[in-house]
């Protein structure tokens, strides 16, 4: 009985939000976003270690909840989503419009499903749902700035999905089934896991907005509505980090060189977050820098785990705590920020001015800070500007290409040429076929 109940809960946790995403199904419900969270909430009380197999779904998949990371993450998600759902409803004293609620519930379904998934395909599917749902959420719930951020996020998302799809295929070719455990085993024994590892790392790095791919995080935090900003840490970033933990054969392989590079990137991200945060400290930006900082910390731990499996086996749980603290930390900062702004019309801390009369070490630190901030944030736009200049030159060439394309399509559309081409194709088929016979 208990197992049936928990299996039902496991299925309902992602399914209910998915169903409620249809406006018709939730029109009579008082607080659909909160109701959608109920199965997940009850699931937290179920004894750990339950799972079900769904061999008829997709290419055979399953849902389950393990006792460690999964539970903790689920608890964190339920809490933050509940908070966000309340904000969604009370913003400006009226319920959100229908489209926003639908996007919200779709993202929720993807998020819960990704946490509960027990295999690569399930995780991939749900995280794709979550990603595009969140894109829609950003677009629907923000102003022009958020929409610009969403566009960047979308490009990253598509590239990330391609990379992960590739990784998925490699995993399918290597492992006997696509459960996390067997993929991890197979990859550890595989002769050349390099491509898989790099695809997974690239894919989730793109999704998580790991420095220096964080460009969309700042405007997203700044200009989306509170309910969405609250989720930024817990949804796209945390799930991508979870993906890294789940997909990589951590604690099984030892790749010192790769680990070192990743550690270096993590340290750089943390440094950047501290320096840029110090330089441009303001409460509105603080959550973004906090997210970058914790992501950096996580990356460092990950790098250590990759270079030495022993470290991971002993300290691996730290990564999950980091993910959870990321979600909570960002949420608390956003909430505090919102509360402060609402309370005392508090806009932002005045930016620190470089003071010539200050001691030399302070001036130095300000200079270093400014330099680091420029390296981190400003190089990308500058690069983009340079690239745009290049693009302008390329555009002319592209226009020629387009004209050629249109011209050849018009050529193909002409009856006489098209039918002649058809004739030619028929003759070629015969010749190619007959050649082998002769």
């Amino acid at each position: 009985m208990n197992t049936v109940l928990s299996a039902l809960l496991l299925i309902l946790a992602p399914l209910l939000p998915l169903l409620l995403a249809f406006p018709a199904l939730r029109s009579r419900l008082p607080r659909p976003c909160h109701i959608a969270l109920l199965p997940a909430l009850i699931l937290l009380t179920v004894p750990p270690g339950v799972s079900i197999d769904l061999p008829w779904l997709l290419l055979g998949t399953g849902l389950g909840i393990d006792d460690g990371a999964g539970r903790l993450l689920l608890a964190m998600s339920v809490l933050i989503w509940a908070l966000a759902a309340s904000l969604l409803h009370t913003a400006k004293g009226q319920p959100a419009d229908d489209r926003l609620t639908t996007c919200f519930l779709l993202t929720l379904a993807g998020n819960l499903g990704a946490i509960l998934a027990t295999d690569l395909v399930g995780f991939f599917t749900f995280s794709v749902l979550m990603g595009y749902g969140f894109y829609a959420l950003l677009v629907a719930g923000g102003d022009e700035g958020a929409r610009r951020a969403a566009r960047v996020y979308l490009v990253f998302l598509i590239l990330a999905d391609l990379a992960l799809f590739e990784a998925l295929l490699i995993a399918a070719a290597t492992a006997k089934d696509l459960g996390f455990e067997s993929v991890r085993q197979a990859m550890a024994q595989s002769a050349s896991p390099g491509l898989y590892l790099s695809m997974v790392l690239a894919g989730f790095a793109l999704k998580a907005g790991v420095w220096p791919l964080h460009v969309w995080l700042l405007p997203a935090f700044r200009s989306s509505r509170p309910a969405v900003a609250l989720l930024l840490g817990a949804v796209p970033v945390a799930i991508a980090l979870l993906g890294l933990v789940r997909w990589l054969p951590l604690g099984e392989v030892s790749l010192p060189a790769l680990g070192l590079v990743i550690q270096a990137m993590g340290v750089a991200a943390m440094l950047y977050a501290i320096l840029a945060g110090a330089k441009r400290a303001s409460l509105t930006r603080l959550p973004a820098y906090a997210a970058i900082f914790i992501t950096g910390l996580f990356t460092t731990v990950l790098g250590m785990g990759l270079s030495d499996p022993e470290v991971w086996n002993r300290q691996g749980n730290l990564a999950c705590f980091l993910i959870v603290s990321l979600g909570f930390g960002v949420a608390i900062l956003v909430a505090a920020n919102g509360w402060l702004q609402a309370r005392c019309q508090y806009s932002a801390l005045p930016e620190k001015q470089a003071d010539d009369s200050s001691p030399w070490f302070e001036r130095w630190s300000v200079a270093v800070t400014r330099w680091a901030a420029q390296m981190g944030t400003d190089t990308l736009p500058r690069l983009r500007a340079a690239w745009l200049a290049n693009v302008d030159r390329c555009l002319r060439r592209i226009r020629i290409w387009q004209r050629t394309l249109d011209g050849s399509e018009r050529f193909l559309q002409r009856w006489a040429y098209a039918v002649t081409l058809f004739l030619l194709l028929g003759i070629v088929v015969v010749f190619v076929g007959a050649l082998s016979w002769i």
Partner: protein, 483 residues
């Protein structure tokens, strides 16, 4: 129950329905819908029979091949029949809304139904036929019905498109028929199974192969022979566009597949590579052209050109996984493209135009239609958990297994291209427009059928194992090319 002649009923019922619609035009909508429901039920009956008893061979007139004509139903036929039934039911319901109201008056509806029923007859007969001359007759029935339906839209675009389509269709059929003549005079039979036993390479067989494959490629609109498709598909009434893209072009692909697997198994690898190459070219060409379009229906039509290319990627892979992937692509494309054309039809109906740049005004007020378009787009892009994802997955797997990974590259880049145009359209859902806009209410049936077809395209991904098991019946791919 098991001795009911399901294959025959599946063919005769829509034929009788078409005749009834013709005799009593005022009741044609009701008669048509009833027939559609009946056909779906009968296909389910046939499916049950095939699943229970394995592949079915039915000798018409009791003569049996080579003297008579045989009908043959295995997993492949059943799959095609099922797609046709489901999409056909959706299109029937959609059309009952589309043709009834203002712009397309009663008159159009009265002409639509009998022809659509005959087209359905042709499709069912085609998927069940085991006789290459009989296939020619069904091809002609199909082609003429499709042309008539395109011309139903009226106006210069549609009539010119229909004329071009008719000429192309006849040309393709004649090439096919000459091939049939050569095969018959070589081996004294037109039954596929008997030909498969007797066939051996000779100049006449090569000539027949060239003629038949070329004719069928023309009808399938494989690049660079797609010249007739965009104008015909884009100018037809919306349900007809859906029908043509989802089912009609697939019919000639089905014949091609049957001939390739059974009669021309000795066709060499170079030819398969050629077809794969053309398929890859179609994916890119169609994708780029779709991006360049300014009208929604034209865009969808070019994306059909691209999606048809994927089907041909299975030829060089030549493994069971590859064929299954191509067929799954066919399946999910049928559902997704139906939903897309229906969504386009809704916007056209609503705002009176389908210029992509001005879509925002129409789209804002039709959330269901936009959802349908976006869901269908997910399947076309090949994102999980849609049917398109499973199809690409299978094709990629086949590509990697056979060591020809570059076909996988085509799949991924093609997905990127389709993502580009899908987001180009969907992006307008989120831009706000304040300008008031003239609009007509779209019947709820039209919006809901579009959405249901799109949801179906997604569900196809979720329940893949069942459908894949269906394809195993009669193991159509196990003969020669399996590898």
């Amino acid at each position: 129950m098991s001795d009911i002649h399901w294959p025959v009923i599946v063919i005769l019922l829509p034929l009788a329905g078409g005749v009834a619609c013709f005799l009593w035009p005022r009741r044609s909508v009701l008669l048509g819908l009833l027939t559609a429901l009946g056909v779906v039920a009968c296909v389910a009956g046939l499916g049950w029979q095939v699943v229970e008893q394995g592949a079915q061979r039915y000798a018409v007139g009791g003569w049996g091949a080579p003297l008579g004509i045989d009908l043959y139903a295995d997993g492949l036929s059943l799959l095609m029949l099922t797609v046709t039934a489901v999409v056909g039911l959706g299109i029937s319901v959609y059309s009952s809304g589309y043709f009834e109201r203002a712009r397309y008056g009663q008159d159009r509806a009265r002409h639509f139904w009998p022809v659509w029923m005959f087209l359905w007859t042709a499709l069912n007969a085609l998927f069940l036929s085991a006789d290459i001359f009989n296939l020619y007759v069904t091809l002609e029935l199909l082609g003429l019905a499709a042309v008539v339906l395109v011309a139903l839209a009226g106006g210069a675009d549609a009539v010119s498109g229909a004329m071009r389509y008719l000429l192309v269709s006849l040309l393709g059929s004649l090439f096919y028929l000459l091939g049939v003549a050569l095969l018959y005079h070589s081996f004294g039979s037109v039954d596929i199974a008997i030909l498969a036993e007797r066939v051996e390479p000779s100049p006449a067989v090569w000539a027949a192969m060239g003629l038949m494959i070329a004719g069928l490629l023309l009808k399938t609109a494989l690049f660079p022979l797609h010249f007739w498709l965009p104008s015909a598909h884009a100018s037809a009434p919306a349900p007809v566009s859906a029908l043509l893209s989802a089912l009609v072009v697939k019919a000639s692909f089905y014949i091609l597949l049957r001939l390739w697997l059974e009669i021309f198994p000795f066709a060499n690898a170079a030819l398969a590579q050629l077809l794969g190459l053309l398929g890859a070219a179609a994916v890119f060409w169609g994708g780029f052209q779709a991006l360049r379009q300014t009208r929604l229906k034209m865009l969808i039509a070019y994306s059909t050109v691209a999606q048809l290319g994927y089907l041909f990627l299975a030829f060089p892979l030549a493994s069971i996984t590859g064929w299954t992937g191509a067929l799954y692509m066919l399946l999910s494309h049928a559902a997704a493209k139906t939903a897309m054309f229906m969504a386009a039809g809704n916007t056209l109906y609503f705002g009176g135009h389908d210029r992509i740049a001005d879509l925002d005004r129409a789209v804002q007020r039709m959330p269901l239609t936009m959802t349908a378009f976006a869901l269908a787009g997910i399947s076309i892009m090949g994102l999980p958990p849609s049917g398109g994802f499973i199809a690409k997955w299978l094709l990629l797997e086949a590509a990697i297994r056979s060591g020809q990974w570059w076909w996988g590259g085509v799949l991924i880049l093609g997905g990127l291209l389709s993502a580009a145009w899908v987001f180009k359209v969907v992006g307008y859902a989120f831009t706000r427009s304040e300008a008031p806009h003239e609009a007509r209410a779209v019947p709820a049936t039209m919006e809901w059928t579009a959405l249901l077809m799109a949801v179906l395209a997604i569900l196809l991904g979720l329940f893949a194992p069942w459908l894949l098991a269906l394809l195993e019946i009669g193991s159509p791919f196990n003969r020669e090319n399996a590898g």
